[in-house]
Each structure stands twice: as structure tokens, then as C-alpha cells.
Point group: C2
């Protein structure tokens, strides 16, 4: 006889968790060519996982890291869900700041610590384990699930974007389900209806042909590091307003209604400041902290490199200086157009005596979903049933560039069901994921298949 879904979800928790630990042990850093084999190993791991659930599965090679595609049988009359996630992870330096190794998953105080725990292995796995639970009930899955797990999310998903353009038929679906972001807070599950876009840059300022003695030469020529600092300071003012003509042209402004709704969300500024470890929150004038991080564009330096960085001093005029920076974009800002205005501005402010090279990296648009679709209602109910509270409707400052592509290429609604927390240290040392949320996520996912089927 068929077993009860809740019983299975409860009894299998240890197995669900040991699967997660196995996957997290694989250092699948997609931006680092030294880890190419590991990235493939992480793809193979999820392929095997799907095989163990008797899914049709395919490892799809790309010009970069492979895509993993799997699907359950069609269910006539029921909606089709596409689950998207990624098996690649961010770099791990500074290594010395990790309490335990980034790829030696460690459970402490109810959290599992490892690179990829929350971003995204732990979260995407919830939608795979929920299927494992359904399968064990012996009951038929009430809808068709397609899984698309990529290995280049942390480097811009460019090959997946190509795949979407050519394979929209295979991927045809009614709704895309993604868990790759955060709840509003501990015990405050949320559905994210808005995301920021992103465009990445690397600027090199080249001066003399070699590092020069700052005594014999200093003062007689432009110092590339001095110039780089000046140029960056001219792109954004002291208050955080970006000083690039055309940058704000297409920004979709917040409506008064939405600002009022965002203002109602439970949020403690001083607790937030304390959590990130700063004395004061500083940002674009005229906006609240949540508006600044969710609904306003930014220009943040991600890395600076020039000259001597080791111990002690080295009295040189460095021959070159470089900066990695990213702009977060809001809906209606086009990454390609932003790349153009940044290019123009940088060319305009680059002074004589140095040469500059601007590399434009991965980009993607922002997203705003409808908050009153039947799918949204189904997700709210599934989360309510699993977490015991009604989820908040929020926006998120992060970027999942592919989400905009899903909307465009597949014409599908997107449900962003974040199981993580803002203090999970995604992209930082000691990344973690709350194991209770991992299991609540699996349960909510299992219910979601029911709720979505019921809405059709």
C-alpha cells in the first residue's frame, strides 16, 4: 500500500542530508579553470542522482561546463514545471577565514557549512529530494517536472542562454521554480517577485612599460594606480549616486504603492547593520535600505589590483592597475546599453599618459513577476503548509540573469522560493545553510507539486 508523504519526508531526513554532504564535497568552482574536472564531477553527481530516481536524464555538453537535464513522464492536463538550479559555486578565498574547509561540509548549531551549501546545491537539492519522497509514496506524481541544472551560473550562464534560444520546445513549461536566494529572515519565509540584473566589468589602466622607481621617475609621469582611483571615484559620487550619463535613463521607479508595501515588511536597520558589521548604513539618498539593495542600481568594486601587495614596501610607480566592478541593474535597464554608457564614460575620463582597456563580462536583466498568478497562490499555500506561516512577498538584490531569459524565451512565470538566509555567507567564507530550512524546503517542494496540480 502507498506510504504517507509526510511520514516519508520525516523518515528520510538523514538520507536527504547525507546526499547533500556528498555533493558539497565537490569543489565545483566554475570561474577557476583549475577546477574544471571538479565542476564536471559535480554534474556527474546530479546525473547519477536523477538516474537513481529512474528519470530520463541527459548530460548536455556546452562550450563551457555541461548542462544536466532530466524529466518525469508527462501528466496530461496537469501543468508542467521546470526546476532550475546550478551545481557550480563561487571561489573560496580568503581561505584562512574559513573555520572548516570550504569543501569539508561541517554541521554546527543546526547549520551545514560549505561552499555551495546555500548557493545553490543545498537549495536546488530540495526539489530533487521532494521527488524522491513522492516516488516512495507509490502515488503518481500529479504533474510533470523538468529539471535543468547548470554549471555556469556563477560565471554568467552564457551557454545556458544559448541553449534556451534553441531548445525552448524541449523546455516548454507553465512555471519555472527556482530556489537560489533567501527568506526575509529566520522564520520569515518569502517569495521573491523581483530581482536585480547585473553587468560585470574589468578595467585595466596601463602606464609605463615596466614598474618604475618612484624616486627617479615619480612626478614625471601619470601613475596608473593614482589614475585608476580617480577614474573610479568619478563613476560614482560619495553618496552612492552613479555619475554616468544615461545610466539611470531606463530605471523603473518604485510606485508609491510598492514603497508602502516594502516599508511594511519587518526589518530592523540596526540589527541589519550589526549583522554585516558596520557602524552606519550608507547609500543613495532618498531611499530606504531595502529599496537601495532591492530596487536601485549600484556600482560596486569587487576587486583592486596594482603594484606591490606583499609584505613591506616597494617604492615603485606600478606599470599597471586594474579593477573588477559590477553594476546591479533594475527592471527595464538593459545590460548591453549600460555596458555602452559605461564604456563611453570611461573613455571620456581616461586622462593622457595612460592607456585603458575595459573588458565587459557577463550580464543579465532584472525581473519582476506577477504577484497574483495561480502559481504564486500555489507556492504561498505550499510554504504555509511546510513552514506554518504565510510567506512574505519581497524583492531581492541579487541577480539570476537567466530568470529574465526564462520569462522571455519560455513565456513562463517564475517562482523564486528562497530557502536561504541573508547571513548564510553566500560568496563569503563560512557559507552555510540551515538544515531545518533544508528539510522545510524539501517538504514545501513536495507540497508544491500537489498545489500546482490543483490549480490547473
Amino acid at each position: 500500500m502507498a506510504k504517507d508523504l509526510d511520514t516519508i519526508l520525516h523518515s528520510r531526513e538523514a538520507d536527504f542530508q547525507s546526499d547533500l554532504i556528498d555533493w558539497l564535497k565537490i569543489p565545483s568552482i566554475s570561474s577557476d579553470s583549475r577546477h574544471t574536472q571538479d565542476v564536471h564531477a559535480a554534474a556527474d553527481w546530479v546525473v547519477e542522482k536523477f538516474r537513481s530516481l529512474d528519470l530520463e536524464v541527459e548530460l548536455i555538453p556546452t562550450q563551457g561546463h555541461p548542462l544536466v537535464y532530466a524529466q518525469t513522464p508527462p501528466v496530461p492536463g496537469a501543468p508542467v514545471v521546470l526546476v532550475y538550479g546550478h551545481y557550480d559555486v563561487q571561489p573560496v578565498e580568503p581561505l584562512d577565514k574559513w573555520v572548516t574547509g570550504p569543501f569539508e561540509p561541517d554541521v554546527r548549531d543546526g547549520n551545514i557549512y560549505a561552499r555551495g551549501a546555500t548557493d545553490d546545491k543545498g537549495q536546488v537539492l530540495t526539489h530533487i529530494q521532494s521527488l524522491a519522497a513522492w516516488r516512495e509514496t507509490g502515488q503518481p506524481l500529479p504533474l510533470q517536472i523538468k529539471y535543468l541544472i547548470e554549471g555556469e551560473e556563477e560565471v554568467g550562464s552564457e551557454n545556458l542562454q544559448q541553449f534556451l534560444k534553441t531548445e525552448s520546445e524541449r523546455l516548454a513549461c507553465d512555471v519555472v521554480v527556482i530556489s537560489d536566494n533567501s527568506q526575509l529572515g529566520d522564520g520569515k519565509p518569502a517569495i521573491t517577485y523581483g530581482l536585480r540584473g547585473i553587468i560585470a566589468f574589468e578595467l585595466h589602466v596601463d602606464g609605463p612599460a615596466r614598474d618604475l622607481h618612484s624616486g627617479s621617475f615619480g612626478g614625471a609621469l601619470a601613475n596608473p594606480a593614482n589614475v585608476l582611483c580617480r577614474m573610479m571615484s568619478e563613476l560614482i559620487d560619495a553618496e552612492g549616486k552613479i555619475q554616468i550619463p544615461g545610466f539611470y535613463d531606463d530605471v523603473r521607479e518604485l510606485s508609491d504603492a510598492e514603497r508602502a508595501q516594502l516599508a511594511k515588511l519587518p526589518f530592523d536597520e540596526s540589527r541589519f547593520a550589526k549583522q554585516v558589521g558596520v557602524d552606519a548604513l550608507v547609500g543613495e539618498p532618498g531611499f530606504t535600505t531595502n529599496e537601495r539593495r532591492w530596487a536601485r542600481p549600484t556600482l560596486d568594486i569587487n576587486g583592486l589590483t596594482s603594484g606591490h601587495q606583499g609584505e613591506g614596501g616597494k617604492t615603485i610607480v606600478p606599470s599597471t592597475a586594474s579593477v573588477k566592478f559590477t553594476c546591479r541593474l533594475v527592471p527595464d535597464q538593459n545590460p548591453d546599453k549600460i555596458a555602452e554608457v559605461v564604456k563611453e564614460r570611461i573613455a571620456a575620463i581616461c586622462p593622457p599618459g595612460v592607456r585603458h582597456r575595459l573588458e565587459v563580462g557577463h550580464g543579465g536583466g532584472g525581473m519582476l513577476a506577477s504577484i497574483d498568478s495561480p502559481y504564486m497562490a500555489a507556492a504561498q499555500q505550499a510554504i504555509q503548509r511546510s513552514f506554518g506561516v504565510t510567506p512574505f512577498l519581497i524583492r531581492e538584490g541579487g541577480s539570476i540573469p537567466i530568470v529574465a531569459e526564462f520569462q522571455e524565451q519560455l513565456g513562463a512565470e517564475c517562482l523564486l522560493l528562497g530557502w536561504g538566509l541573508d547571513d548564510d555567507n553566500a560568496h563569503s567564507p563560512n557559507e552555510k545553510f540551515c538544515l531545518a530550512d533544508f528539510h522545510r524546503g524539501i517538504r514545501a517542494s513536495a507540497y508544491l507539486w500537489e498545489e500546482l496540480a490543483a490549480k490547473s
Copy 2:
């Protein structure tokens, strides 16, 4: 019977050169604690060299790297010369830019390539080999020579400064001879009568307690790297004028007479620009290139460090950013006073939302020597005899902080006899020293002992 000095100088060239190669093989990088033993080995090498010339020699321990002191017997009625130099060298990165290993001396096109070749092992050795030549003549040395060779010139000579304060009697002399800088150009020997001072800084700007996801947090708090770039851009303007109240207060301005004399020096701006590999020479308005690098103060960034520097991208708000920078000073600017005004300025411009830490490093004043002393005349004749041309009188942009101390503590004149060239890549990859200049330097040094004795 006594041998002829010129004959010996000529016949010993191969031996002089092989000594240099031995010394250059020792990686005596004083700023890098991993090389402490090598630094000591370089000191031992010169101790042995002095022993082989039957000098009284002493290895003097300090809180840092040891001093090497040696002296020839007193010569009543003759002047006493103190030869100063250093056996420590600069760091060597970027290693991949060296054609041959920095500590594998290689002779190419009449130059010897190695870290320390020109700065300063190759140059100070000329004054030791000149003594070796004199010794071989069997003739008595016409004056007393004291040698003081230190191992901390590249890190500020702090322990030597202490030593000078307590040992001025032992070091008592009429003139200090230093070869640690450059000629005006190839075939243009020069005596340097002016040097710039220096003061070094390292500024850290600290923001969030850890690197943060630039999506979830970007825009909501001050980015330490953005702030660092802005702060540096506020310390010096686009034209190279330093924007620090009080910075220029004590600057000794160039006299019209000196500006006219400097303008007469053979100097080809476009050749200079080509030599350093820039399209345009940029600097403080109203001054020539030589004035800018020899007689005007500077603020040059030596290194920038923040966030992600590896391959690919990392979308973070870095928790911290740091910059190493040095100010070159001109005569009458006091390094301690400059440190104070820089501190005040940085504290004044550090914005809310970040914390800053300013470390003040090694410093030293500038120097201006009398250009019509008998010692200067003796040096001009010695160089004329060896190089076959009259030396130019120039200033230099580099700093030998200890020179100001010699003048102050010993009341002695300083003769800066640079045998190097501006394109010797001191402090850069592929540092070199012209072997012809090495031997001309030895010869000039040998003549200098005669000429100085004749002036007394």
C-alpha cells in the same frame, strides 16, 4: 717594485666581475622575512671580502639586519673618507617578467642582469675593488677609508640611524662617498648634489565584517574599495598637485639660477618618454620633467589590494581595501610633519560607514650639497680621469634618507657618485648594471683616493 695602478685596474677586471657575480647570487631581500638568512649571508660575503683585504672588520648586530663596518689604518694629515652602501635589495615580483632569474646573474650586451646589480651591490663594490687595486700596487693608501655597509636601506635604514647617533666618533670623517644612483645618461657621468626625501604609508579601509554578496547587500552600505579610491583621489588632483593642507608649507622652491642651470642639462623629453614607455609625460603644472622628478614632492600609489584578484569574477562587496603609497619630499620638508598632515587629511576625509587605519612607514629628509667644496672638485677630477668627460652636476629624485643623517650626525659633506643609468630597472624586473660603468667606477674610485688626499 710597486706595480702601476692603471695596469692592475685593467688586469683585474675579470676578478672584480666574478666577485660581483658571487655577491649578486645571494637573494638579500630585506623587506621579506622569508629571506632573513639570505640577508645575513650577503653581509657575511662582504665581511669576508674585507678580511681578504686585511681590513679591521666588524659585523655589527642590530635589532634588524647587521651592519658591516671596516676601516683602513689612519693616515695623519690626510682626510678621512666614509664609504657608505647597502647589501640588501628590493623584492623581485613580478617574477614572470624577468628574462633570467633575479638571482642568477646573467651577462648580456655588456650588462649584468640581477636584482641588486645597480642598487646597490654593483655600485658599492666599486669602492671596495678600488682598494683591492691600491693594495696590489704596494703603495700606501694616501688617506683612511672607513666602510659602512648596511642591510636595511630598502626598508628605511632605521637601525643605522640609531647607530649614527651613538657611534659618530667611530664614524668621524671629512667626506662621505656614496654610489647608489645614476649618471645623467649613457656616457654622461654626473655628481648628484640633491636628493628627495621620502615618507611611506599604508592605508587600510575596513567596512563589513566579511565580504558580502554584492547583490543582496550592494547599495545598502559603503564599499571599502569604492571609498579607498575616492579618498586617494582626494589626496592629489588630476594634474598631480597634492591636496593636503600644509603639505607644501616647507617646500624649498627652486631658484631661477638653479632652474636655468637644470634647463641647460642635455635631456630629451621624447626620448625619456619612449624609454619609460608612455605616450605623454604628465605632472605638476609649471615645472619641467626634471624639476618634477628631482625637485618637487609627489604622492605615488605603490600598490592596491582589495577583494577578488584571481581569474574570473566574484560578485562581492569586499570587507576591506588597502593602499601602499609614498610621498617623495624635497629639502626642508620634514617627514614627521608630512606624516602628521597626511594623517589629519585622511582622518578628515574618511566617510561614515567605514573605519580606517593609517600605518606610517619609513621616512627620511632630502639633501642638498655644496657644489664648490674641495671634495666636489676632487670627485670631478677623478671622474674626468676615468670617464674622459667632465661630470654633470645634477639632482636626483630618489631618496637615500641616511644621507641627511650623515650630514647632520657627522657634519660631513656627501659625494653622491652614481655609476648607474636611469634605465637600469632598479626596483623593477630585469635590473641591470653596465659592466663598462662598473669598471669605470672602480677606476674613478681608485683615482678619488688620490685626488681627495691631494686636496688636503
